[in-house]
């Protein structure tokens, strides 16, 4: 026999969740459904003539080899940003964890870039690498390497990856450092007594123990690279040259706000939405299980 406590049903719980539900409705469900509706329309910019076309905008995207290329490019970009920024912050955190004197100063300095807005971060890198005025471009030329990311798509991609990864290093660093400091000292010290060097200790003890953090950061970094890098790309390359740095979000913006193709742009954002949902589900259901806690 199952015992249950029955409370008299009241309005209070509904009232308590109402603000959250309302926020979700206004800021997510409503715009999302608008996007869904818009994605099935072909409309002129002013909204004066509208034609309902079902899935034709999606069909057009699927037939567009450039759109499919944007998918591959976005995957490459996101993985590269995640890898570069996570590995750098891992190294930095590894060192910062061992620092005894002036630890706070190091930490503060390493966290600074996170406070910079994406557009400003982009502007910073653009100045350093400007083929005519940039100090780094000047240095590279001195070394005999010709830098012109306005023509060379590979260099442009490298530049936005660096800028995007650099900005994220601080965030990752913070999490890695916290994770490393939560590892009991005794474990590491025991290994040291047994004769394990710093590298050995790192790979056999620290790295496996912080794997939940690594997984968490992977998700965060992928999402960051997918969506938050818009400002950097807008400031650095505007998607060029020849689309070499146009990732999915940038194409949504470009087609919708520059090209005024609202239907096509909405269709892309719907696909993007589905993609993020799928990505999150896959990551949490399958990858998370393999992580050692």
């Amino acid at each position: 026999m199952l015992k249950r406590v029955h409370f008299p049903s009241s309005l209070l719980p509904y009232l308590l969740v109402a603000p959250q539900v309302l926020i979700t409705l206004i800021f997510f469900i409503w715009p999302a459904s608008q996007a869904l509706w818009q994605s099935m329309l072909i409309e002129d910019a002013f909204g004066l003539s509208t034609e309902f076309v079902w899935f034709e905008n999606f069909q057009a995207l699927m037939d567009d080899p450039l759109y499919l290329a944007t998918f591959k490019r976005t995957a490459f970009f996101s993985l590269a940003v995640a890898f570069v920024s996570m590995s750098f912050s891992l190294i930095l955190a590894g060192f910062a964890d061992r620092v005894i004197r002036g630890a706070t100063a190091y930490r503060t300095l390493l966290i600074w870039p996170y406070a910079i807005a994406p557009v400003l971060a982009g502007a910073l890198w653009v100045f350093m690498f400007n083929p005519t005025l940039g100090i780094v471009a000047y240095g590279l030329e001195f070394l005999g390497y010709e830098w012109n990311h306005k023509v060379n798509g590979g260099q442009a991609m490298a530049l936005v990856i660096m800028a995007a990864a650099w900005k994220q290093v601080a965030y990752n660093f913070l999490f890695y450092l916290a994770a490393m400091q939560s590892i009991p000292k005794s474990v590491v010290e025991a290994a040291a007594i047994d004769g394990a060097g710093p590298m050995k200790r790192f790979w056999t003890i620290i790295f496996p123990l912080i794997s939940p953090t690594t997984f968490f950061l992977l998700v965060i970094n992928m999402v960051y690279a997918f969506f938050d890098t818009f400002g950097i790309i807008h400031a650095v390359t505007q998607g060029g040259p020849a689309n070499a740095t146009t990732i999915l979000v940038y194409k949504v913006f470009n087609d919708g706000f520059v090209g005024l193709d609202l239907g096509g742009s909405a269709a892309q954002s719907v696909i993007l939405m589905a993609l993020v949902i799928a990505m999150t589900v896959v990551q949490f259901r399958f990858i998370e299980r393999k992580v050692e806690y």
Partner: protein
Amino acid sequence: MKHSTLGSIVAGVALSFASTAFAQVEIQWWHAMGGTNGERVDKIAADFNATQSDYKIVPVYKGNYTETMTGAIAAFRAKEHPTIVQVFEVGTATMMAAKGAIYPVEQLMADTGEPFDKGDFLPAVISYYQTPDGELLSMPFNSSTPVLWYNKDALDAAGAEVPTTWAEVKDASQKLVDNGMKCGFSFGWQSWVMIENFSAWHNIPMGTKENGFAGFDTELVFNNDAVINRLADVADMGKDSLFVYGGRRGDSLPMFTGGECGMWLNSSAYYGSIKSQSEFNFGQTMLPLDTDVAEAQQNSIIGGATLWVLAGKSDEEYKGTAKFLNYLASPEVQAWWHQETGYVPITQAAYELSQEQGFYESNPGTDTAIKQLSLNEPTPASRGIRFGNFVQIRDIINEEMEAIWAGDKTAREAMDTAVERGNVLLRKFERAIQ
């Protein structure tokens, strides 16, 4: 406490209503002129406001051309749009197709009874903004055309003449590079300069149906031998740094003003920037002729922006708008604007006034743009271009051209793809406006 707050809000709202009822009619003007040109726009508005007391023009800077146009469109959809909006020339087809959203300037002038004579305007300027029947849709404001800018000191030092043909450009670039310069020439706004204007300058159509003027069922045809050979030659020059690509729009300006490149093909409206940034003697001359393509130059086409009047405002606002547009087109205002910015004067009277004032004598070369524009009576191939979705098509052209400069594609492959991709967008536009 609560009551008093509410009371003061009500009073405040009532007061603001009352004050607008007695005040002048405010007319919003959204524009895309930042920096120094933005200050000049403010001055024009302030001067107009000082001439009378019934209307007040309120200029609002809304970002670059694209942002201003999309901002106005979004505002129109939300019924919060300004009366006047500055739209760049490539947005013309989009604006024109939005029949219920715009108030053609010529009709506005007729309806409000303001004096208006189209004959005063320079044909090359207004032909770009007319319907096939000749009705003027928007008021030309800042118009420019590409010219060949050159570093006079560098050319002299290299012993090169100011070029007039592409063969001479190549020759001069070789001399500049031999003399130690990093690059011979560069250009900006490459679709506008190297395809749109190159075609008009040599009287070759860029699209069917009179470059789109005679109907939205136009198709792009700029993948012809003339354009392809020109681009292939430029790409070839790129191998020896006779040409160096420096990015879209005006991004390559520092290469010219910084003394890296000896020549630069771009808008005449860079006059102010070049004057303030360069530390050498510079000059401007007409675009080079490709002698393999044509015997003589036709005329170049304009770029820049016009002022569109949007629908859905009161008669009073339109009356004020019409008065303001007339003020804007007056010889004094135009001549001042032209001389300050390097944009071309939009009326014959303003051009003549500048001549009388001796502006061209004390600033040689500043009439290059206007001479280029009025070199010949515009033909269907040189009147201008009117393609829907042209903002995106220009992006496509930019992308494909960048692929040529990067050596990823030949000029022919790139232009064929650009035409093919562009035509898809033209069909999409044709369908969306039906």
